[in-house]
């Protein structure tokens, strides 16, 4: 198994997603009522650049995990295109098996994602053997990787998943993801189930591995603090669409979308003298079965105007590599806070 080569050069995005859509049909009842579709991901475009960490945040049901599963082709998209380093995934140039060697994934549930009947050494060595590496070499590499993620092979290699703690199991999952020497790793809530002190250890490990192996990360989490800390850029999703995307610091310091602002002000204050007095958003995230018309956030938005329920906002640049899908930023959109078209021109 050779190391994987960069194809399009550093300037070409590693991953380009265009018009990604996933609708899950709902079952009809015996009388033919119901039906309809869950619009889990509904028109998502973004790029992941080589060597960066793109963080993805949003409430449950916003489509962040579905997006990850679509990228890995674990589920087939309804529509849309996934281009990996200039080549279409699943096309003749980049068959699925080859793509999956280059992109690996780590899941939230460290226990469910390991085979309980394989020792952790065998789990880590399994992938490379599927891709044609001999057993002895695969096991040797597995032991190296286990040592690299902080699990001494002499002590741990022969153990089964149930004999490890949650943090240790997640290290095994990370080692397994790296066994194929991928170029990109998708981390879907990979540290969310861990205790804070263990989470910090695993985050440090992820940052070290990224530097050592030149990896690109897609880091999905609901923990806004952790996402800011690990990400170069952050994408905020709401009901299957991208609300805002931009450099981590710019997005956290000056969020352009009202939803991002609400999300950020929902973080606990950590200050006993200035506790949060009012929740930024009322109610639960709405259901992606019948999403609101126009801007999907308008029923919960503090800045909503009549036009917001009619017009679907397009992403508008609000800074360097920073875009928000909000009519407030769209000149001539008809929103009272937007710049009128005549003056903008």
């Amino acid at each position: 198994m050779d190391a994987l080569k960069d194809i399009g050069g550093p300037a070409q995005p590693l991953l380009t997603i265009t018009g990604l859509v996933k609708h899950f049909p709902l079952k009809k009842d015996p009388l033919g009522r119901g039906g309809g579709v869950v619009r889990a991901v509904d028109g998502v475009d973004f790029e992941v650049l080589k060597g960066e960490t793109l963080g993805v945040v949003g409430e449950s049901g916003c489509g962040k995990s579905t997006t990850a599963r679509l990228l890995m082709q674990l589920i087939a998209p309804t529509r849309g295109e996934v281009i990996f380093d200039g080549r279409e995934v699943g096309g003749r140039e980049l068959p699925l098996k080859e793509f999956r060697r280059q992109v690996q994934m780590v899941f939230q549930d460290s226990y469910a994602s390991l085979n309980p009947r394989l020792t952790i050494e065998d789990s880590v060595a399994f992938g490379p053997q599927v891709h044609g590496v001999g057993r002895r070499e695969a096991v040797a590499r597995a032991r190296d990787l286990l040592a690299r993620v902080g699990l001494e092979p002499q002590r741990f290699a022969e153990r089964y998943p149930h004999e490890l703690s949650g943090g240790q199991r997640q290290r095994v999952n990370i080692a397994r993801a790296l066994a194929l020497q991928p170029r990109m790793v998708i981390l879907d809530e990979a540290v969310s189930a861990l205790d804070k002190s263990v989470e910090a250890q695993v985050i440090n490990l992820l940052l070290d591995l990224k530097a050592e192996f030149g990896l690109t990360y897609l880091f999905i989490s609901h923990d806004l603090n952790v996402v800011r800390y690990v990400s170069d850029r952050v994408m905020v999703m709401y009901l299957g669409q991208v609300a805002e995307i931009g450099p981590a610091d710019a997005l956290y310091d000056a969020p352009a979308h009202p939803y991002t602002r609400a999300l950020l002000s929902s973080m606990p204050s950590m200050d006993p003298d200035h506790r949060t007095e009012e929740a930024a958003l009322a109610g639960d995230p709405p259901n992606p079965i019948n999403p609101p018309t126009g801007c999907r956030f308008h029923p919960r938005c503090a800045l909503a105007a009549p036009v917001c329920s009619q017009v679907v906002p397009e992403p508008i640049a609000t800074g360097a590599r920073h875009a928000a899908s909000c009519l407030v930023h769209e000149a001539g959109s008809g929103h009272p806070m937007a710049v009128p078209l005549a003056r903008a021109a």
Partner: protein, 343 residues
């Protein structure tokens, strides 16, 4: 009964008094010492947060207050008093009256805590009528008022809903309504916001704070999230390996933590002020095995300040300020490594 038999009526009496509580579970290969010597008082109208990582004993401590552990496999030592009553000595009948009426609990996962085959309204009505002799119609009216109180939109319709028909935040509100149905004096909250989105978590935390204030409840709030604890608690107790290692007002605990474990916990959080690329400070190693606890401080193995004295014997509780205590012999040295977190 006379007032003398009813210490509940004395207002100086703390709502909860735990004295040297120890809980161990047998049944596995080796007995597990989940709680070893917890003493804690909660005054009337006070909110105390118990924070700690998995296996620290925070939930076990909380569940002991309602005696929810399987009787045959659990050994409980020490004293547990709630509203002046000895919980460990209660006969089964009295315990049934006590649960829900004096002390009530909300859980992390309402979908597991609520009965899936009854509507939420029916469960509240049942709970009210178990404890009070009121008519069905009257109990229903009270259930409706409770749903309005916890701000469930269109409450009349939602009373008829089954738990699976509600969203996560709504279910948590319904469970709070159920817990408050019989006007308890003590609310025990076991990670009630952990499974929720941040936007919903803050709503539930604010609701709990408001209900606590309006109803004068005493609350014990168990969480692993310091941020959530700071939002609701007057006092915070930090648990590690079955012991309270530090206890103080929320302000003191955040501003001047003195136990190395509290300090390490605060430092290991990724937070806004942290530069990207700077390494997170971690606590090396893992929590100790509860079936083979060391004789000395359980944190010593992972502690940068540990000395031989720490490993030899249990460190005593050091009084640092009124209401601020830590179980550590190096609190002065710990002060030097404490983070300056908030402005």
């Amino acid at each position: 009964m006379t007032t003398m038999n009813h210490p509940t009526s004395s207002s100086s009496e703390p709502m909860v008094r735990l004295r040297d509580l120890s809980v161990s579970f047998s049944g596995g290969r080796k007995p597990v010492q989940a709680v070893s010597g917890v003493s804690l008082e909660v005054r009337r109208g006070e909110v105390v947060a118990l924070i700690g990582e998995s296996g620290s004993g925070k939930s076990v401590t909380l569940r002991t207050l309602l005696r929810l552990h399987p009787e045959r496999r659990t050994r409980i030592g020490g004293q547990v008093q709630v509203a002046g009553r000895d919980v460990l000595a209660m006969p089964a009948r009295e315990l049934d009256d006590f649960r829900g009426k004096v002390a009530s609990m909300i859980f992390q996962e309402p979908l597991l805590a609520l009965d899936p085959v009854y509507s939420v309204g029916a469960q509240i009505v049942e709970s009210i009528r178990r404890h009070e002799s009121v008519s069905k119609a009257e109990a229903h009216q009270r259930a409706l008022a409770l749903f309005e109180r916890v701000r469930i939109p269109s409450p009349e319709r939602r009373l008829a809903a089954y738990p699976h028909e509600m969203s996560g935040g709504m279910r948590q509100r319904a469970m709070i309504a159920l817990a408050l149905a019989c006007k308890p004096q003590l609310l025990l909250a076991d990670e009630p916001t952990t499974a929720l989105d941040a936007t919903v978590q803050i709503q539930i935390l604010l609701l709990l704070r408001e209900l606590q204030r309006d109803l004068g409840l005493s609350v014990i709030f168990v969480t692993h999230d310091i941020g959530a604890a700071v939002e609701v608690a007057d006092r915070i107790a930090v648990m590690y390996a079955g012991r309270i290692v530090e206890e103080g007002t929320a302000r003191e605990l955040i501003r001047s933590p003195r136990h190395p474990y509290t300090i390490a916990l605060l430092k290991s959080r990724a937070h806004g002020a942290l530069a990207r690329g700077a390494r997170l400070e971690t606590i090396g190693g893992a929590p100790p095995d509860l079936s083979a606890l060391p004789p000395g401080c359980a944190f010593a193995e992972r502690c940068a300040l540990a000395t031989d004295a720490c490993r030899a014997a249990q460190p005593p509780v050091v009084e640092l300020a009124p209401k601020h205590r830590a179980r550590c012999i190096h609190t002065d040295a710990a002060a030097a490594i404490a983070p300056t977190l908030v402005a």
